[in-house]
Subunit: 375 residues, 2 copies
């Protein structure tokens, strides 16, 4: 199998598991957080910097890359890995989420979705088959089906339709998928409706995908509803397949979802907030542009071992951001990605040492207090 | 002496020289190009990246750093080196050029200059003594006197006044300069008037500074007039002191000025044009945003050995710039700085091998053709 997932160790008291996903010669240690490189780069960082942090897997977006620069150019380079010079593992999202975020700009029926490009206003039509072929051409190690992702809040019937269509499209994507060296994952929908979550998961599991994503969450719903949705979804998913919760990057939610048995995550959160001067620390978020840091010689986070914290003061980083210097964004982005990578390493270490439950009990209240109130 | 300059080798047929400036434990190999880090960072690159390229010396700007973040914060960090975490050699420009570029926003007399901050509209008054003290506090290895830099074109009498005031201020800066571990360089003015150039140089040489800058050039005058000004200035400067041509970064002009006997250079050119997608190559400037590079798999410059050229195609870099990705600016900036650093290394190698004249004869017409017409 192209994406061989092995559970190395399972927490006896929770659903959490330590795993390893092998895709060709590449190994992804799980649970892990996947930095988002929508347009063919993780914003503001280089490949060597990602490697230095220990990143195994990054994500690109089929919808964005299709619109710009176009898949022909990527194909000419021999695929996305070589276009962006990333030797690690790559996943492409189908872009379902992005297309459905366009709102009035798109039209959808069972056949597919037509939408207006946010770049040049051109009208495009994408079907499950076409999105699969595009991802085949882009050539990431892992690809995603085209799904329909309803917003939050959404009426029961709207979500029910999305679940039905998502299953229909998943089947068509699977049939259209041609690359043996690329694994296609399904995406469970169902919003915050427990029966629809279970239904969606069962329909997709029946089709036997090599991995399952949990989509349609982290779209504005309260975190408790997201956890409830995980509680209905995860038990429906096979033990021996990888589970991917889409759009989650807040430390409290990462820990919670790991406890339910989720293995991989992605979110623009760490990189996006970094560009606004917001950094993650062992004491919660810190808005480095705040004038209180104007003469602060401490690093962003005293407990952090990253290069930014080893070499630069809060006052310097604040100055860079205030002066509009690109280096400021580089440093905050690097720190936030490193912070999450180290956090996931800590979770893996706790799982490896059979002390995840204890780790969870110690960390969960603290993380909820520090990060729970903030999206 | 704090800035010990040694001429290692002199070209027998031109004024060019291979040198070494020692400032404390730091050695600067000359001729060299100094990347500009106006606000406490070379725009878009990190310290390790500068070191990787082989940069010995970078420049900060007293005027900018005084306004933001303020010298008190820099002093608290123990000086600019540690504020920005740069272990190499540092020079601060006084900011004379920046203040005089403010035009209507400033008033000047023999005592000093008052100006309105471009950041918050506050009025400041700077004297030669104050600028020197500020640079003492900032603590770079090399500091510059406050000079008066007339624009181009400027009437003879205006330039004559500036020459007189520059000499007066240079003497006051020298008297106010208190740090033994920092060398203060004078700045020759005189515009494009040969007699004023000679007069300015003689007045300053009489005061015995450890180094001499040539200012007031590269401010819009034709390159031939700049070379004529070098021809009148350089012979007036002592053989055993370092010579610094301010504001020059175009390859053709660098080679020409080295031939006249200039040792160090700075300019925002390589970093500024990089952010506009313009890169330096062995075949001249290349505007990477041009649609002809949309599917171009070649590196920026096939003859370049930098990491950007080793790893990324023109098509990818163009895509990044078009998509507004910070990585695009990082890659073009890195390449341009590397390009100039390698160019200066080549010049030093030619000098070391006693073949500068031949190198000059081969390269000069080509560089003038490629870069001569463009500012």
């Amino acid at each position: 199998m192209v994406a061989k997932f092995s559970v190395m160790r399972k927490c006896a008291q929770t659903g959490a598991r330590l795993g390893r996903l092998e895709t060709g010669p590449k190994t992804i240690k799980t649970p892990c957080f996947m930095p988002v490189g929508t347009q063919g780069t993780v914003k503001a960082v280089t490949v060597p910097e990602l490697q230095e942090m220990g990143t195994d897997l990054i994500l690109g977006n089929c919808y964005h890359l299709f619109l710009r620069p176009g898949v022909e150019i990527i194909a000419r380079h021999g695929g996305l890995h070589s276009f962006i010079n990333w030797p690690g593992a790559l996943l492409t999202d189908s872009g379902g989420f992005q297309i459905f975020s366009l709102g009035g700009l798109r039209k959808i029926d069972d056949n597919g979705v037509s939408f207006t490009s946010h770049i040049d206003g051109k009208i495009h039509f994408l079907t499950p088959e076409r999105v699969t072929r595009l991802q085949n051409i882009i050539g990431a190690d892992l690809a995603m089906v085209l799904d329909q992702c309803p917003p939050y809040p959404a009426e029961y019937n709207e979500v029910k339709t999305a679940v039905k269509r998502t299953a229909l499209w998943a089947r068509r994507c699977k049939q259209a998928h041609l690359r043996d060296d690329q694994a296609l994952f399904a995406i469970v929908q169902g919003g915050v409706y427990e029966d629809l979550r279970r239904q969606s998961a069962r329909q997709l599991v029946e089709m036997n995908f090599p991995g399952y994503a949990i989509g349609g969450l982290s779209v504005g719903e309260p975190k408790e509803l997201m956890y409830a949705a995980l509680d209905s979804t995860v038990p429906e998913l096979p033990e021996d397949k990888i589970r991917y919760l889409m759009g989650v990057g807040s430390p409290d939610a990462l820990l919670e979802a790991v406890r339910y048995g989720v293995d991989i995550f992605d979110s623009v959160l760490p990189t996006r907030i970094a560009r606004n001067g917001r950094v993650m620390t062992s004491r919660g978020y810190l808005s480095i542009r705040n004038s209180v840091y104007g003469a602060d010689l401490d690093p962003i986070d005293e407990d952090c071992s990253c290069q930014v914290c080893a070499n630069y003061s809060r006052a310097y980083i604040r100055h860079l951001l205030n002066a509009g210097e690109i280096l400021g964004l580089r440093l905050t982005t690097y720190h936030n990605l490193y912070y999450l990578d180290r956090f996931m390493r800590e979770i893996r270490a706790a799982l490896a040492a059979d002390r995840f439950k204890l780790y969870y009990k110690q960390m969960s209240p603290r993380l909820k207090q520090l990060y729970g109130g903030v999206k």
